[in-house]
């Protein structure tokens, strides 16, 4: 590999790194700008999602409170059953409870159900919102039914809202701790696995670390070699220039008559500029 080729590779590598950095910074910038632009919409959606006008009704709030209490209890019960909280005596005796699979399934399904119930609840509450119904006139009969003032309509609306609230809270109360517990169990499982592999695992880790270190040293050696070559080149050029300068002094004034242009034509391109500069200074 010649010096110029190595230099070119270095430039390409530098350019590639620079481009990556620019791309990364632009990506971050673009994402930030998009998020800032979306922020008002997100805030509006959150406000609309969490403060529907139906919640102004104290009767509905009471129903939803009952639903949330029942849902919370149901969620706790579900989580306790799946997490084996009733089997503490097994743990206390030094045993273990197989619950990883159950917890994973519970976390996934409960959180999905909670999300679906939230969406359903929000839509349900929107059904008695005049602004929403004006946009979706096809739902007007539903609106008219719920606002008919009839006992059955009120019971149905409040009951559905309470059930959806209960399901949502049951999902969250059961799913969120199940997900956390499942994560902790998985971490422990990995730790146990590493412990089981024992000394062999440690040696493999050491070999991998050694390989990394070897590669790093090789890169450092290459860089040092490149730097040494570059330094030799610079020294050679400096020696050449010094020699040329000495010859010029021996020629004396006669060289001035030959003309700076002819002298410049004889020297390599790299030395042309400084020599010309010197000739000008002297003239």
């Amino acid at each position: 590999m010649t010096t110029s080729t190595r230099r070119a590779n270095g430039l390409v590598r530098l350019g590639s790194r620079g481009y990556s950095l620019i791309k990364k910074s632009l990506g971050l910038y673009g994402t930030t700008v998009a998020l800032v632009q979306l922020l008002p919409a997100v805030v509006t959606l959150v406000v609309v999602a969490f403060t529907p006008s139906a919640l102004l009704s104290p009767t509905l709030r009471r129903w939803m409170l009952v639903g949330s209490l029942v849902g919370t209890l149901a969620g706790k019960e579900l989580f306790a059953a799946r997490a084996g909280l009733r089997s503490f005596h097994v743990v206390l005796r030094g045993g273990s409870i197989e619950r990883a699979g159950g917890l994973g399934r519970l976390a996934g399904s409960a959180l999905v159900i909670a999300a679906v119930a939230f969406a359903g609840l929000r839509l349900h509450l929107a059904l008695v919102d005049t602004a929403f119904i004006e946009q979706f006139t096809v739902l007007t009969p539903v609106f008219d039914f719920y606002l008919s003032g009839r006992t059955v309509a009120g019971l149905l609306f409040n009951g559905v809202a309470a059930v959806l609230t209960g399901v949502m809270l049951a999902g969250v109360v059961a799913g969120a701790p199940a997900a956390l517990l499942n994560r902790r169990e998985a971490r422990r499982r990995r730790a146990r696995e590493a412990e089981r592999t024992g000394t062999l695992g440690a040696v493999e880790e050491a070999i991998a670390a050694l390989e990394k270190a070897t590669k790093a040293l090789e890169r450092a050696r290459d860089d040092l070699a490149l730097a040494a070559i570059a330094r030799e080149g610079e020294l050679a050029r400096e020696g050449e220039l010094t020699r040329e300068d000495g010859l010029g002094r021996e020629d004396g004034l006669a060289r001035d008559h030959v003309g700076a242009r002819d002298v410049a034509a004889d020297v390599p391109p790299r030395g042309r500029a400084p020599l010309a500069s010197k000739a000008k200074t002297r003239g």
């Binding site: 009704s57 104290p58 509905l60 606002l147 003032g149 009839r150």
Partner: protein, 298 residues
Amino acid sequence: MGGLCVLLVAVLTLAFAQPGEVVGEAAPEAQVLDCLVDRALPAEPAVTADGGFSFQFQALAGTAVDGRSCTVHRLRNSPGGPPTPVRWLAGAELLVDKARLGRCDDGSCEWVEVARYFEGGFELSDSTLGYGLNADQFTSVTDSLVAVTEPNLGAITASVGTEVEGTVQLADESEIAIAFTVRSRLRRADGGSLTLVYELETATPALQPGGRLALVWDAITPGGDRVLAPDRTADRAFELAPTFAGDGRVELGPDIYALELPVDALAYDPRSRLSVVERTRPDAVLLSVPMPAFVPDR
């Protein structure tokens, strides 16, 4: 300077007056139901609007055509407004409940009117209009005229009554216009014997024998689980609670269905309510209004 102050006070009074609030005495209005109105609050029907709902309301008071006192509370949807369940309360006292103001076009919006006829007077009171979902999604606080009933229980005769005119919506979403008057009366004979009379007067076919509607009057049906209405099979005006069963005598007249009940002593229940229901669904109230009653003192 003094004139300027008076002007300033007048401007401030008008500026801070609530929409629909009465400023001064209202001009006497024409008769509403059997009530000759001499006071209205607000002077003109006021509009309350929130959350896309919009309807008119007004409280009236005056003298009934038979010389007793009367109040009228009335509600009407605004043209194009959505169906609006309304509950109108004055503190703990019910004025109108379960009123359902249906959709209507300009010119077709009818009042739901509840008139009360009684001995006594009326007073100014804060009232709350709840409307929208469960009739409590939005509220509007306003002044209103509230009946203060003071029947003379020692008199030879006394009477208290409620008249309703409006529209109710049934479970099958059909709408029925209703108009009826319910009275509770006491009659004292020469010998001092007392008779209580419970009376329904209506020309509405749905409330007559064989009709789809019935009335529940919780004063004479404790618990409100019994239907009170002209019965198609039995020859009596009301089906009464077990405490009354077998005691009453029925008098039927044109569009009048009444029950006479001899009692030894009586009491006055000013808080009882009258509800319109479907005969097949007596628990589903379509409209509820105040209807005080004379009841046996047991």
